[in-house]
C-alpha cells in the first residue's frame, strides 16, 4: 500500500473496527462528566456562524472504534431524515495518532463542514486539549472518567457500567442518541445492519448497552438537547463521495476496474470489489499504477467500459498511458482523488493541488475532459457523465475529487436508477462498409468503433476485414504505424477535432445569486458547499453575493464564464491550493484576471468560516 491509512472504512470494514474496539476497552473506560445546561439553538446569532446545526466531533486514536461509532451515528441521523456533512480527519497510520470523525447535522439542508463544535466526544485526553478551543460557548464535552482535565461543560457517565467489555462504545452511542434525541429503535436497527443480523447474542448485547445509554441520558434531562424535528422526512441514502463514484460507475456500465491501493482513492476499489460478483465486474489489483491504467486501456480496447482510480503519486505513474489513451483513442475514466503533495505529501489530508497536473498530464496534444464534483450527488452523476464523454470522444476523461469529498458522508437523494442510461459499447459499435479502419477520418474526428473479435452489434467477428488495429505510434487510418508526415498532420487534426465533441456537452458553470453581484465567489470541485454557505451568510452584512461553481474544469468555454465574471463588481476565487490554479486557468483561457484569491493549503477542507474570515481581512 502506498500509504497506510488505518483500518478503515465504510460498512464493508465495520468488522475491523469492531475488533479494534474490543482491543482497546481496557485502556479507555470513560465516564461522562457533568454538563452545564447549554443552548444549542440561540434565537439570535453572535457572529456569522451561529446556525441551526450541531457539530459533533468524535476524537481519539486510530483503533478506538471512532469511525464505526461515527458511521452508525451518521447513518441513523440520515435515516431519521436529517441532513449531515461528515469530515474525516486521520493520520497515515493504523493505530494511534489523533483522529476525528465530525458530523455536522441539521434539520435543514446543509452542504459544508463547520469549525465550531457543539458536542465533543473525547475518546482520549488529547482530543480535549486539541479541540476545547473550538467549542462553542454553549458546547459540551464528553470525556474520559480518568481525565485529568476537569471543569467546564463536561458530562460524566458511568459508561463502563452501562456497556461492559466491548459494548461500552455502544453505550456511548446510546448517550449521544439520547442527547440529540434520535430514536433508539433507529440506532438499534442501524447497529444490527452494521454488525450483521446473524449473531443473535451480539444483537441482544448491543441493544442492552444502547438502552442503558439512552436510559442514563433520560435520567439527566438537564443535559438533553434535542435536534428539532425534520420538517419533510423523505428517504435518503447515506454515502460518501467515493461510494457515489463506485455506484455511478456501475450504473453507467463499468465492466473493468484496475487499481493499486492509494489513499484517498482506495475505498472506490473496496466498494467495487464488494459488488464485483453481483454486478459482473472485473476488479483487479494491479502490480502498480502503470499496469492498472494499461489494463484498463486494454480492456476498453476490447469493449469493456473501464476505469482506474488513484491519487497524485499513482497518477504520476499513469501519465504515459494517459497519452496512450489519447493516441490510441481508447475511452478510459480516470479518477484522481487529490491529497496534498508534492511527492508523498500529507497522505490522508485534502487539497485541490492537481488541477494543472491532470490538465497537462501526458505528453503530446490530445483532447480530454475533467470533471470536478462539488457534492456526493455530483460524484454519482459526473462519474456517469465521464463514461458517456469517454465513449463519445474515444479518449481519457478525468474525475478530479479529493480526500474531503471522498470521505465525506452525506445525506443523498435516492437515485432513480431505472431512468438512467448506460454506456452500451455494443450498440455504439458500427461496422462501416468495406475494410474496417480504426482511425477512419470523420468530420467530428470520432471514428466508428469496433472491438477485436467482435463485429458490429457484438456478433463474433469472422471476417478478416473486421480486424482492429491500434497503435501508440503515429498511424494511418488502418492503425498501422506510419512516418508519412502528411498523414501525421491529418491525424493530429482528427484527434483535436474531438475536443469540440466534448465542448458541446460541457457542464456549464453553476451561477447562484444576483448576476449583478457586489461580490462573486468562484470555486470548483469540493469547495462548493462551503462557498455556498459563506455566500448565504454575507447578505446579513448587507452584501449582494453570487457564486460561480465549476464542476467541469476542462475544457473551459470562455463564453460561459465571461458574462457572469464581468457582471460582478468584485470577484474572489476560492481554492484548496497555494497558487490559485483555477484562477490562473481562467485567466489563460478567457483573459479575465481574478486577483483576489482565498486559498487554503494546510491539508484541511475549506469551511464557510475560513472564507468569511479571509473576506474580512481583504
Amino acid at each position: 500500500m502506498r500509504s497506510v491509512a488505518r483500518g478503515r472504512k465504510s460498512k464493508f470494514l465495520g468488522i475491523v473496527d469492531l475488533v479494534c474496539l474490543e482491543a482497546t476497552v481496557e485502556v479507555f473506560s470513560w465516564t461522562f462528566l457533568v454538563c452545564n445546561a447549554f443552548q444549542l439553538f440561540p434565537s439570535k446569532g453572535r457572529g456569522h456562524m451561529i446556525d441551526n446545526s450541531i457539530n459533533l466531533v468524535i476524537g481519539g486514536e486510530a483503533g478506538q472504534g471512532l469511525v464505526t461509532l461515527g458511521q452508525i451515528l451518521a447513518k441513523a441521523l440520515v435515516r431519521e431524515g436529517y441532513s449531515i456533512v461528515v469530515t474525516q480527519s486521520y493520520q497515515s497510520r493504523i493505530r494511534g495518532g489523533h483522529n476525528t470523525y465530525t458530523i455536522r447535522v441539521s434539520h435543514e439542508e446543509i452542504r459544508a463542514p463547520k469549525e465550531r463544535i457543539e458536542v465533543l466526544v473525547a475518546l482520549d485526553e488529547e482530543t480535549v486539549l486539541l479541540h476545547e478551543k473550538e467549542l462553542s460557548p454553549e458546547g459540551i464535552i464528553i470525556v474520559n472518567e480518568a481525565s485529568k482535565i476537569s471543569g467546564g461543560s463536561r458530562l460524566q457517565v458511568p459508561l463502563r457500567k452501562l456497556g461492559s467489555g466491548k459494548f461500552y462504545n455502544v453505550a456511548a452511542l446510546g448517550v449521544i442518541g439520547g442527547l440529540l434525541g434520535i430514536g433508539q429503535e433507529c440506532i438499534g436497527r442501524t447497529l444490527d445492519d452494521f454488525f450483521g443480523q446473524h449473531d443473535k447474542t451480539l444483537i441482544d448485547n448491543n441493544r442492552i448497552a444502547l438502552a442503558k445509554g439512552f436510559g442514563w441520558m433520560s435520567a439527566h434531562p438537564e443535559a438533553v438537547r434535542k435536534l428539532p424535528p425534520v420538517r419533510i422526512s423523505r428517504p435518503h441514502l447515506a454515502m460518501d463521495g467515493n461510494e457515489a463514484i463506485a455506484l455511478g460507475a456501475m450504473s453507467a456500465g463499468l465492466k473493468f476496474f484496475a487499481f493499486y491501493p492509494m489513499t484517498p482513492a482506495t475505498s472506490i476499489a473496496v466498494n467495487l470489489a464488494a459488488c464485483a460478483e453481483r454486478m459482473g465486474l472485473i476488479v483487479e489489483q494491479a502490480e502498480d499504477e502503470i499496469a492498472a491504467i494499461n489494463m484498463a486501456i486494454g480492456a476498453s480496447f476490447a469493449g469493456a467500459p473501464s476505469m482506474v482510480a488513484t491519487s497524485g503519486g499513482g497518477f504520476a505513474l499513469m501519465t504515459e498511458a494517459v497519452s496512450l489513451a489519447g493516441m490510441t483513442e481508447t475511452p478510459v475514466v480516470i479518477v484522481v482523488s487529490q491529497r496534498p503533495g508534492p511527492s508523498t505529501g500529507l497522505p490522508t489530508r485534502t487539497e485541490q493541488g492537481d488541477l494543472e497536473f491532470v490538465l497537462h498530464a501526458g505528453h503530446g496534444e490530445f483532447p480530454r475532459a475533467i470533471f470536478a464534483p462539488g457534492t456526493v450527488e455530483d460524484c454519482f452523476h459526473l462519474t456517469r457523465k465521464a463514461f458517456e464523454i469517454a465513449e463519445d470522444s474515444h479518449g481519457p476523461v478525468f474525475l478530479l475529487t479529493d480526500q474531503f469529498l471522498a470521505d465525506s458522508y452525506r445525506s443523498v437523494d435516492p437515485f432513480k436508477l431505472e431512468e438512467l442510461s448506460q454506456v452500451n459499447t455494443c450498440t455504439a459499435s458500427v461496422m462501416p462498409e468495406g475494410i474496417y479502419k480504426t482511425y477512419a477520418i470523420t468530420d467530428s474526428g470520432v471514428s466508428p468503433r469496433l472491438f477485436p473479435g467482435i463485429s458490429s452489434g457484438c456478433v463474433q467477428a469472422r471476417r478478416s476485414e473486421q480486424l482492429v488495429v491500434a497503435d501508440s505510434d503515429e498511424h494511418s487510418e488502418n492503425g498501422h504505424l506510419t512516418e508519412d508526415l502528411a498523414v501525421r498532420k491529418i491525424m493530429v487534426e482528427k484527434r483535436l477535432r474531438k475536443l469540440e465533441v466534448i465542448r458541446k456537452q460541457v457542464v456549464p458553470p453553476e451561477l447562484t445569486g444576483d448576476d449583478q453581484a457586489d461580490l462573486m465567489l468562484v470555486c470548483w470541485g469540493s469547495t462548493k458547499g462551503a462557498v455556498l454557505e459563506a455566500a448565504s451568510r454575507l447578505p446579513a452584512q448587507g452584501a449582494n453575493v453570487a457564486t460561480l461553481h465549476l464542476s467541469q474544469v476542462w475544457p473551459l468555454v470562455p463564453e460561459l464564464l465571461l458574462k457572469p465574471l464581468e457582471a460582478a463588481r468584485r470577484v474572489v476565487c476560492v481554492e484548496s491550493n497555494a497558487t490559485g490554479q483555477l484562477a490562473r486557468l481562467i485567466h489563460r483561457e478567457t483573459g479575465f484576471s481574478i486577483e483576489r484569491r482565498i486559498l487554503r493549503y494546510d491539508g484541511l477542507p475549506i469551511t464557510p468560516e475560513f472564507i468569511l474570515r479571509e473576506l474580512e481581512v481583504s
Binding site: R278, I282, N294, F301, P414, Q460
Partner: protein, 283 residues
C-alpha cells in the same frame, strides 16, 4: 481452412538476416496449424524492433507502450476471453521496462502467450546492453563491458512456476513454430523466449554462436518435473537447451471469474436488479 496467405505478407523495416524474419514465419505457421482465423487473434506489443512484428501480419493488433504490453493484453483478455492473445516484444521491453508485469502475469497465470525476441542487445536504439546481455559485453554505452549479471527469464519463470516455459531459437523455425503452437494451446500463461541474432549490434551472440550451442531437449524429457526443470533452466553457456522446459496445470486466471463464462464483457448489460439492491443498502 486457414492458409498462411490469410496472415498477409508485408515489407518489413528489419535488417536483412535479422532473426525477426524467421520468428514471424514461425508465428504464422503456428497460427495456421492451429486453424486460427486472424479475427480470433489479438497481438499486443510494446516498443522495439521486435514489437513491430504484429504490424507485419494480418490480425487484431494493439501496439502500445514500451514495457507495457502485458497489462494491455491482460485487460483485453479479461474483456474478451475468446480472443487468443499473444504478446510479442523484445527482451528489453519484456524483462527490463516490463519486468514487474512479467512477474505479475506469471503469478496470475492469465491465458496469454508471450513471445520474447531475445537477442541480448537493444536494436532500435542502436546497440546498448539489454537485460540478457552477457557480463563483459561491450557497447557504446557500456564501453568497459556490462557488469550486471544477465537476467535468466527461463529460470525466473520456472522458479515461480509459470504455466508454460519454453525456449526456442530463430534458426530452427519448425521447432520454434511447434513451441509457439503448444504455448497458444496451453491454458494459462505461456512464455516462449526466442534466441535470435542481431546482425547489426551483437557481434558476439551471432547465428553461429547460438546454432553451435542450442540443443533440443530429448523426447523423454518431462517438463512437468519441476525439480528437473529448475536444473535445466540454469543451463546457459556452452550448451543451451531449447524446447518446453517446464509446464503445469494450474487453473488460469480467468477461470476464477464466473462472469467471464458469459462471453465478452462488452455484451453484458448492467444488472439493474443487483444495483438497486446495492443502492438500497445505503438507505
Amino acid at each position: 481452412m486457414v492458409a498462411i496467405e490469410d496472415y498477409g505478407n508485408y515489407e518489413t523495416a528489419w535488417c536483412p538476416g535479422c532473426g525477426n524474419h524467421s520468428i514471424l514465419v514461425a508465428v504464422k505457421n503456428a497460427l495456421v496449424s492451429l486453424e486460427l482465423e486472424p479475427s480470433q487473434v489479438l497481438f499486443v506489443s510494446g516498443i522495439g524492433q521486435a514489437a513491430k512484428a504484429p504490424h507485419y501480419l494480418k490480425a487484431n493488433v494493439f501496439n502500445g507502450l514500451h514495457g507495457r504490453a502485458l497489462p494491455v493484453a491482460t485487460g483485453a483478455k479479461l474483456s474478451n476471453t475468446s480472443l487468443n492473445v499473444i504478446v510479442e516484444s523484445g527482451e528489453g521491453c519484456s524483462y527490463g521496462e516490463g519486468g514487474n508485469h512479467f512477474l505479475a502475469a506469471i503469478r496470475r497465470n492469465i491465458d496469454i502467450t508471450m513471445i520474447v525476441h531475445d537477442n541480448q542487445v537493444y536494436g532500435l536504439t542502436k546497440g546498448q546492453s539489454s537485460p540478457t546481455s552477457m557480463e563483459g559485453f561491450v557497447t557504446k554505452t557500456q564501453p568497459t563491458g556490462v557488469v550486471s549479471s544477465p537476467f535468466n527469464p527461463i529460470a525466473v519463470a520456472v522458479t515461480i512456476k509459470a504455466g508454460f516455459v519454453a525456449r526456442g531459437f530463430s534458426g530452427r523455425i519448425d521447432h520454434l513454430s511447434g513451441l509457439i503452437r503448444k504455448g497458444i494451446s496451453h491454458k494459462g500463461f505461456s512464455l516462449i523466449d526466442v534466441l535470435q541474432p542481431c546482425v547489426s549490434f551483437n557481434k558476439v551472440n551471432t547465428f553461429g554462436w547460438y546454432n553451435q550451442r542450442c540443443y533440443e531437449l530429448p523426447p523423454d524429457y518431462n517438463p512437468f518435473d519441476w525439480a528437473e526443470a529448475i536444473s535445466v533452466s540454469q543451463e546457459f553457456g556452452e550448451r543451451i537447451p531449447i524446447g518446453v522446459i517446464y509446464q503445469n496445470d494450474r487453473p488460469s486466471f480467468e477461470d476464477h471469474f464466473a462472469v467471464l463464462g458469459k462471453g465478452p464483457l462488452a455484451m453484458q448489460d448492467v444488472n439493474l436488479e443487483a444495483l438497486e439492491e446495492i443502492v438500497r443498502s445505503y438507505g
